[in-house]
Amino acid sequence: MVHFLQACMNGLLTGALYALIGMGLALIFGVMRIVNFAHGSFLMVGMYVSYLLFERLKINPYYGFIAAGIFLFGFGYLVYKLLIQPIRDRSDFMQILMTTGIALILVDTAQLTFGADYHQTNIDLVNRAVHFGPFTLNAASLLSFGIATVFIVGLREFVVRSRTGQALRAIAQNRDVAPLMGINVTRIQGFSFALGIAFAGIAGGLLLPALYLFPSVGEDYTLKAFVIVVLGGMGSIEGAAMGGLVLGVAESLTSTYIGNQWALAIDFVLFLLMLSLKPSGIFGRQRA
């Protein structure tokens, strides 16, 4: 039983970061219906930014992630304006292709700049553990969990309460009518995309201490992000948060009881199951 709960807890810790990634994609795909196959690559960029700050300026990633987030906000906005907005109304086909192209560019640029070698940050916190009762939790993971939770709740509040957040949801529900309500659709969409990418960057920064860094590290996360968004229900920011946690726990349990190498497989199995049985997601309502 303890074993089980321990696995669940570990899963929740990772799950919070997944939630960040998923919520970012939910903003982009769920709200704007832009198919962003480059999401994981932006996460990778966030990791490299944090890494650079750590290597060159000795800034701890647990502070550096903020800079990564800000940088990716701006970068995301630029990418949106130059490459995504012109094809906003084209088919999903084209968007998938475009973002795939962007992903390839990002990954290969990273490889040309930093080389294919694995990099690692050595943060002391990663080696420390927190004990309570029969349970042991990694201190670094606990810290990222805490930070991630702040951002998860923050984003949720923002989307639900703020005027921009409401504008966002208005656009999600009916893009044609939204401008009639005085919403500047182009600007909000650009903001939404940038914010989604920023969250990918933040997640990247927080993941840096725990992972090996190499150019294609982000690729798995793009797919995970889509699995999370589907699990949570398309367009639902809160759903994506829940979806991230669910995925984290599912992976952790799979790792513990079936084997490490099958952890990635559970992502796809869940994904295909969800799409086949309840396409609206665990927490989603039926959408046209």
Binding site: F29, V35, L83, P86, I87, R90, D92, F93, M94, I96, L97, M98, T100, G101, I102, A103, L104, I105, L106, V107, D108, T109, Q111, L112, A116, L223, F226, V230, Q261, W262, L264, A265, F268, V269, F271, L272, L275, S276, P279
Partner: protein, 333 residues
């Protein structure tokens, strides 16, 4: 219109004859290998074109069939099945798997469909990595059909033959009811249903055909390189390449995938020798440029140009009783 099609057929027969030339002229094994890959990917692009170009279903999971062809050949051959028969059986098995996959994924539309196809490809990769029969992460050896100094020349010609076969399938499709039905599905599934097209059935048929051809290419590829590992033969990169080759050249056209293969692989080879491993960057930039400026692909763009030139030659007569005001307003419908 008909004359153009007739001319196209002769041009392509000529091209096929021409493409046999490298087998006679080139002696460098590395170059022959490059030619082999170009021809093979032309075949792959053409195979993908059936599902992605004509039927308009953006599958990014085709590598599943590619890998199944290669693994099927390797496993069957290791049980003493003669190579040609093994290739056939492997391809048929891949087609069977395609039927299963099709049942699942064709219920989905748009990006969900694409994501599901990716998931299928990845599930297969993970399965191959973790099973004993597929050699796990270490992989398997694949038997060769040809040996000796003519090795790459013969493999190259085989690839050309496969590409020619795929081309013929495309050609037949484009000029048949089957092709029209696929295109209708691509343009508007409801309209297709309203004229009696069982869309699920036809989508599946295009997938089965495409899967069979893709699997044969996979078997040929595995045989040529004699060794397969999941990360090489079941990687999503191959799925993406197939799609890009077709799109770059022109999805839904006959010559598009061929042009795309020559261009894309040619470009990446050139850059590989100049700039090492930056061919992904080239792919990425090409994709971005094509999507932004040439969404019909190269051949598609040319066809568009020819069509508009022909239209300009004879101005359209107005529809009877047509009011210019209404037509101006309704352009966007």
């Amino acid at each position: 219109m008909k004359e153009l099609r007739g001319a196209k057929l002769w041009i392509t027969i000529g091209l096929v004859a021409l493409s046999c030339l490298p087998a006679l002229v080139v002696e460098n094994n590395y170059l022959l290998q490059v030619c082999f890959r170009i021809a093979l990917f032309a075949a792959l692009g053409l195979a993908w074109n059936l599902v992605g170009g004509y039927a308009g279903q953006l599958s990014l999971g085709h590598v599943a069939f590619f890998g199944l062809g290669a693994y099927g050949l390797a496993i069957l051959a290791s049980h003493s099945v003669p190579v040609p028969i093994a290739v056939l059986i492997a391809s048929l098995l891949a087609t069977l798997v395609a039927a299963l996959i099709g049942k699942i994924v064709f219920r989905l539309r748009g990006p969900y469909f694409t994501l599901a196809t990716i998931a299928c490809g990845e599930v297969l990769r993970l399965t191959a990595t973790n099973l004993n029969i597929t050699g796990g992460a270490i992989g398997l050896t694949v038997p060769t059909v040809f040996t000796g100094p003519m090795f790459w020349k013969l493999y190259y010609l085989s690839a050309v033959a496969l590409a020619a076969g795929c081309f013929l399938v495309n050609f037949w499709t484009a000029n048949s009811r089957f092709g029209y039905y696929l295109m209708a599905i691509r343009e508007d599934e409801d309209t297709a249903s309203a004229v009696g097209v069982d869309t699920a059935n036809y989508k599946l048929r295009s997938l089965l055909l495409s899967a069979f051809l893709t699997a044969m290419a996979g078997a040929l590829y595995g045989s040529a390189f004699q060794y397969i590992v999941p990360d090489n033969i079941l990687t999503i990169d191959i799925s993406v390449q197939m799609a890009i080759i077709a799109m770059l050249g022109g999805a839904g056209t006959l010559l598009g995938p061929i042009v795309g293969a020559i261009l894309l692989l040619g470009a990446s080879e050139t850059f590989k020798t100049q700039f090492q491993e930056s061919h992904l960057l080239i792919y990425g930039i090409l994709i971005v440029l094509v999507v932004l400026f040439l969404p019909e692909g190269i051949v598609g763009g040319i066809e568009q140009l020819l069509r508009s030139r022909r239209k300009a030659a004879k101005p359209p007569a107005p529809t009877p009783n047509q009011s210019p005001a209404i037509s101006a307003v309704e352009k966007g419908n």
